[in-house]
């Protein structure tokens, strides 16, 4: 492989440069010829049509009148757009979406805040506090990452039931207030913190809590953002647990379970209403995918590929 690179790298002056090679080297790297470019575009456009169409259907369909979608040919782009479905979703009584939205926000925000607090505290002591069993505790946290949630969902459900909390909103978040991955992510961030700064702060008589909140946390803001985004999405997109908890009680629905309930409700004739519902679940996640890819990639991969 190295031979191949040597031969064709434009920036190797020692290589005898033929005419063709000179011409080639003038082109900036990675700029394909016209035929190659056309082929690329054809492939990308085809893929975009297949992958994007369901997204268009979700968003555009949510603004179309009920019944338009079953017409042939599909009238996605010539309808009378309105907020009618959103108004209907607002007033929907069989599967009320407003409490579900409140529950989803509650779940996302509480889990996010809890992860931030529990992860930062634990990671701080793992990195900055001299104490016995530090390694053991760290590996205990790591071990919890490896446990697939579905393997322990049965005992957890029985536990919540035995506490009599099935109708309590907190039962939606209680099992998820701490997370091993969060501890790992913050530990990795704290370890980048220069040791001299820490010594100086401690010499100045700076207490641990003040050192954490005043000096360490502000300096790891990108990691905090990544963890916050990741945790919020964990909560917002969660399906299995709310499904079990809300099975006996409609008011415990999150948007994710409500959307499914909406779909199974009304013999599948309320497609536009369902699409409006799905669009609501997409608002924070689409915004993050479009504008916050940086944090996403960092959050997901910091622990793994870094």
């Amino acid at each position: 492989m190295s031979r191949l690179i040597e031969q064709t790298t434009p920036a190797s002056p020692a290589a005898p440069a033929g005419r063709a090679e000179l011409r080639r080297s003038k082109r900036s790297p990675n700029q394909p010829g016209r035929a190659a470019a056309t082929a690329t575009y054809v492939w990308l456009v085809l893929a975009a049509i297949v992958l994007l169409f369901p997204v268009l259907l979700t968003i555009v369909g949510g603004f179309l009148p009920e019944g338009q979608l079953v017409r042939r040919p599909p009238g996605l782009f010539n309808g009378h757009y309105s907020f009618g479905n959103y108004v209907a979703a607002w007033h929907e009584t069989v599967v009320p979406l407003l409490p579900a939205l409140a529950n989803s926000l509650f779940v996302g925000l509480v889990i996010m805040l809890a992860h931030l607090v529990t992860s930062c505290l634990a990671a701080y002591s793992l990195v900055f506090v001299r104490m016995p069993l530090r390694k053991t505790i760290f590996w205990l946290f790591m071990a919890t990452i490896m446990v697939p949630y579905e393997a322990i969902v049965v005992p957890n459900a029985l536990f919540i039931r035995s506490l009599g909390m099935e109708n309590n909103r907190w039962s939606l978040v209680l099992p998820f207030l701490a997370n091993g991955f969060g501890v790992f992510l913050m530990r990795q961030a704290f370890r980048q913190f220069p040791d001299e700064l820490r010594q100086a702060a401690l010499l100045d008589g700076c207490g641990h809590l003040r050192f954490l909140c005043g000096i360490v946390l502000p300096s790891v803001r990108p990691s905090l953002t990544a963890l916050a985004v990741w945790s919020f999405l964990q909560g917002w997109n969660m399906y299995f647990w709310p499904l079990i908890i809300s099975s006996s009680n409609n008011s415990m629905n999150t948007l994710q379970t409500a959307v499914f309930a909406l779909k199974s409700n009304g013999n599948g004739t309320q497609q536009a209403l369902v699409l409006a519902g799905v669009s609501i679940t997409l608002i924070p996640t689409l915004l993050l995918v479009i504008f916050g890819q940086r944090w996403f990639v960092r959050g997901f991969m910091a622990g793994a590929v870094k």
Binding site: L4, T40, P54, V129, L140, P148, I244, F260, K263, V289
Partner: protein, 294 residues
Amino acid sequence: MRRPPVRETLLGFGFCVPALAGLGTFVIFPLFQAIFLATRGTDINGNPSRSVGLANFAALFTPEFGTTLLHTLLFTIFVVVVGVTLPLALALPLTQRLRGMRLFRTIFTLPFAYSASAASVIWLLMLDPSMSPVNWLLRLAGMTAPGWTTESPWALITVAWATTWVVAGFNLLVLSAGLAGVDEQVLEAARIDGATGLRGVSRVVLPMISPSVFFAVVTTTLTSLQALGQVQVMTDGGPNGSTTTLVFSIFHNAFENGNNDYGLASAQGLVLLIVGMALAAVQFGVIERRVHYR
């Protein structure tokens, strides 16, 4: 090393208490409880009852559970193979200096915004006989659409595709990040030398982004192993159990139709635990190596 002062130690433990309490109560303790529950039956009130010995584990060696594992395997293979090669086939052309590549990248990552239930509901509507644009296109081409979620081989493929659609968006991000770290001249060299197409990709580019590819493969495997929402929303395990995967089987035995078979569900959960831990161990091993190489 000097023994750390007692105050310091107490503070350290104190800081760990919230996280340890949460994980201890809802992850570590339930693990042992699951082992205990796996030896129990269920009474008429739907609560765990007396010991049934290893009967629940014996139920793991039946043809039914074998079929469940087979569905899980097929589902996972589909999602991993398509969910990694498709974004790879998109991420590679996107590295070229052409107009609109950023727009295409954003478009391809949009499905990642969908949760399991949102994606499942959308694909149910996409393939719903009353409004399916896909069926309409097929009919224009003179073909009859199969019962996407109601015919046996198709149902598993449909559910797997809905999962793949979301996963591909995330993997495109991962693979693009990996490709961004590859020297542009190397990519160009591979292309000029006639090493275009599959040969160039597999011989030159793939080895250079192997950590990203591996990360994508492992996370995709774990995701598809744990894919419950897609099955529950789209097919509810049917038709005729043909989409019953391991996690769906756990959910079905414990929580659906008043089955309340917590013992069997827990035993199946332990199988999932073993598979998941083995995969995670592989992943950790690779991270270690990667860090070492840097």
